[in-house]
């Protein structure tokens, strides 16, 4: 066993070079004038923290929370029944049906985003059916696209929990006089809570940091945190970009601690 331990060293090297060092750079850039390309102006400063009160940051933060929140609620409302349905299917083709849910994730996300973008523009394939939308830049367009992107991430953790659940519990609750609603509410739902939390986090986090989707469908007037980071970097303002990234990381860390609390064995983290 001990001899195998050596195999971990390349991974540690990889992790250090590509994750830990860049992370330290981000932290450093947040609290100083550190600029990876001209270190000669280096000094510690908390100037970039002031960006956190800038209207554009507050707006991006608000937008991120709003769109991620709405998307997550819709995904949960749609995803739970779907997961429940698939978990309770009594067909020998069950695996096939579940696999069909994964198929959309196989195509590249950018391709799917551009597909939505084209559908939301006035001149699109929908013209063949005498339909024409002009929805680029509207909230509803962003939400529709986000839900379609992240729905599978909600369904699978819930499905995983529901599928593994011992049906004996439900039978027991029915034997003890609970009606089907009561047994769902008192037994199935609490037992699937771990899956729900994982699903929420796996939807909420990528939706909050979404970048390409609001970039293509937001029409340049709806800005999320991901877009703000990109804009700041291309403006050459690395420290404000680092500050925003740092805020995003703290939020993510908070959510991750939440998931660990609800799901101690980590079984729902696919």
């Amino acid at each position: 066993m001990k001899s195998l331990r050596r195999l971990i060293y390349p991974y540690i090297a990889w992790l250090t070079v590509l994750i830990i060092i860049p992370f330290l750079f981000i932290v450093l850039a947040t609290i100083s004038t550190f600029h990876i390309f001209n270190s000669y102006t280096f000094r510690f400063t908390f100037d970039s923290l002031r960006f956190l009160t800038d209207p554009i940051f507050l707006n991006a933060f608000k937008n991120s929370i709003k769109f991620a929140g709405i998307t997550t609620v819709i995904c949960l409302a749609v995803g739970y029944p779907v997961a429940y349905f698939f978990a309770n299917i009594k067909s020998k083709n069950k695996t096939l049906y579940v696999a069909l849910l994964i198929v959309p994730i196989w195509s590249n996300m950018i391709v799917r985003i551009i597909a939505w973008e084209n559908v939301f523009k006035p001149v699109s394939i929908l013209n063949l059916f005498n339909l024409s939308f002009d929805m680029i830049g509207s909230d509803i367009a962003i939400i529709i696209a986000m839900v379609s992107m992240y729905l599978p991430f909600m369904i699978f953790p819930i499905y995983a929990v529901l599928d593994k659940m011992d049906h004996g519990y439900i039978e027991a609750s029915r034997d003890l006089g609970a009606n089907s609603f009561q047994s769902f509410y008192k037994v199935t739902l609490p037992l699937s809570l771990g899956g729900i939390v994982s699903g929420i986090i796996m939807t909420l986090l990528p939706a909050m940091t979404a970048f390409a989707l609001p970039e293509r469908i937001g029409g340049g007037t709806t800005i999320l945190l991901g877009n703000l980071i990109e804009k700041e970097i291309f403006r050459g303002s690395f420290s404000t970009a680092a500050t925003v990234s740092f805020v995003v990381m703290i939020v993510m860390l908070g959510f991750f601690m939440l998931i660990v609390r609800f799901d101690k064995e980590g079984e729902t983290l696919l």
Binding site: I12, F37, I223
Partner: protein, 363 residues
């Protein structure tokens, strides 16, 4: 333990060695340019003539060029940024003055006077050799005849972009300098205005248009030209180069062209030019490279491939007479028009413009 160190070192080594693939022993010239902005056959020709290797890299924006230069990973010998970036880089002492004596082909060519006056007197004039030039203007879809009428009306031009009463679907450039510049020019001010009152007026103009347009105005970048061509937008703020690109694409696909370009009477001229950054280790070869593209035949072949308006008058004539180009309609500076170039007015000014665009975006 030793083995583990070796394995770790190997892992890191593999990562870095990947980036070294493709080295050879010939003298090298590092060129940083925009995408599809130089005929690759001519680069091959230059390589063969001088027995050198040109390491050619492409970027999508002036800012990206700046970042690449400042990274210092590659010691670029030649870059082709636009005028305001040349201004900025020269102010930051990142460029080497051009030694015009080494450019022997300069004797037989003449740059357009109209373009020349715009940079000649500027401090950054000594750092550049012009490559192509054009205007900032409006690309519009010809299916809606009202657009053309509006653009040509007395209060048309750039003001059409901000006139919400027209009910047009408008695309603005997602860049503070260009969009605020268009608003300033609509108001009759200089594109380089640093006057807070004038900038405030520009901000109000864009803000009101956005508020009243109810979503029919949006910001974009490379997608704007395609959207106007397809009819997803009625008009958009673009660079003349964007328009040419779309025309060539449609001609190649043999699709009907239902769009046109309008350059308002008062607009700004973009000039992309060769510069030699101070990272250059091979300035003689860099000058040779620039000189190569000042040769009329080479420049004409290049202009035919790129498709933009050449800045050398002799090449312009060759393009019109021999290649059959019709630039008349797109000549950057027709009689009676007033033209300016963008200047770099310091980081505070850039920050000011950025704040304005951010403010109108979230209002």
């Amino acid at each position: 333990m030793r083995k583990s160190v070796i394995i770790s070192v190997l892992a890191v080594f593999v990562m870095f060695s990947v980036s070294l693939v493709g080295c050879s022993s010939k003298e090298k010239l590092y060129v940083l340019n925009w995408g599809e902005y130089m005929n690759p056959d001519l680069i091959d020709k230059f390589e063969t003539e001088n027995n050198v290797k040109v390491v050619y890299e492409e970027v999508g924006s002036n800012e990206e060029m700046e970042i690449k230069l400042k990274q210092g990973i590659t010691d670029y010998d030649i870059m082709i940024p636009s005028e305001y970036m040349i201004d900025k880089l020269s102010q930051e002492n990142l460029l080497l003055p051009i030694n015009y004596n080494l450019l022997t082909n300069l004797e037989s060519v003449e740059f357009f006077e109209d373009a020349k006056v715009l940079y000649e007197e500027e401090d950054f004039g000594q750092y550049l050799v012009p490559y192509f030039f054009g205007t900032v203007g409006i690309m519009y879809n010809t299916n809606n005849e009202l657009v053309k009428t509006a653009l040509e009306s007395e209060n048309g031009g750039f003001c059409t972009l901000f006139d919400e009463t027209n009910d047009f679907r408008v695309g603005l450039y997602d860049s503070p300098r260009d969009t605020i510049g268009a608003a300033l020019m609509c108001l009759g001010y200089s594109v380089n205005s640093n006057n807070d009152a004038q900038l405030g007026e520009a901000e109000t103009l864009i803000e009101t248009a956005l508020a009243k347009s109810l979503g029919s105005i949006r910001f974009g970048q490379d997608d704007l030209k395609g959207d106007v061509a397809k009819g997803n937008l009625d008009l958009a703020l673009v660079y003349s180069g964007d328009y040419f690109e779309m025309v060539f694409e449609y001609e190649e696909e043999e699709t009907d062209i239902e769009f046109d370009y309008f350059a308002p009477n008062h607009t700004n001229i973009w000039i992309d030019a060769f510069v030699i950054p101070n990272t250059s280790k091979n300035t003689d070869l860099a000058h040779k490279f620039i000189n190569f593209f000042l040769d009329i035949d080479n420049a004409a072949e290049n202009a035919d491939w790129v498709g933009y308006t050449p800045v050398i008058s002799e090449v312009y004539d060759v393009m019109v007479n021999d290649y059959g180009y019709d630039y008349d309609h797109y000549y950057p500076q027709p009689e009676g028009s007033s033209r300016e170039v963008f200047k770099y007015l310091g980081s505070e000014h850039a920050q000011k413009l950025n704040t304005i665009l951010n403010a109108v975006r979230i209002s």
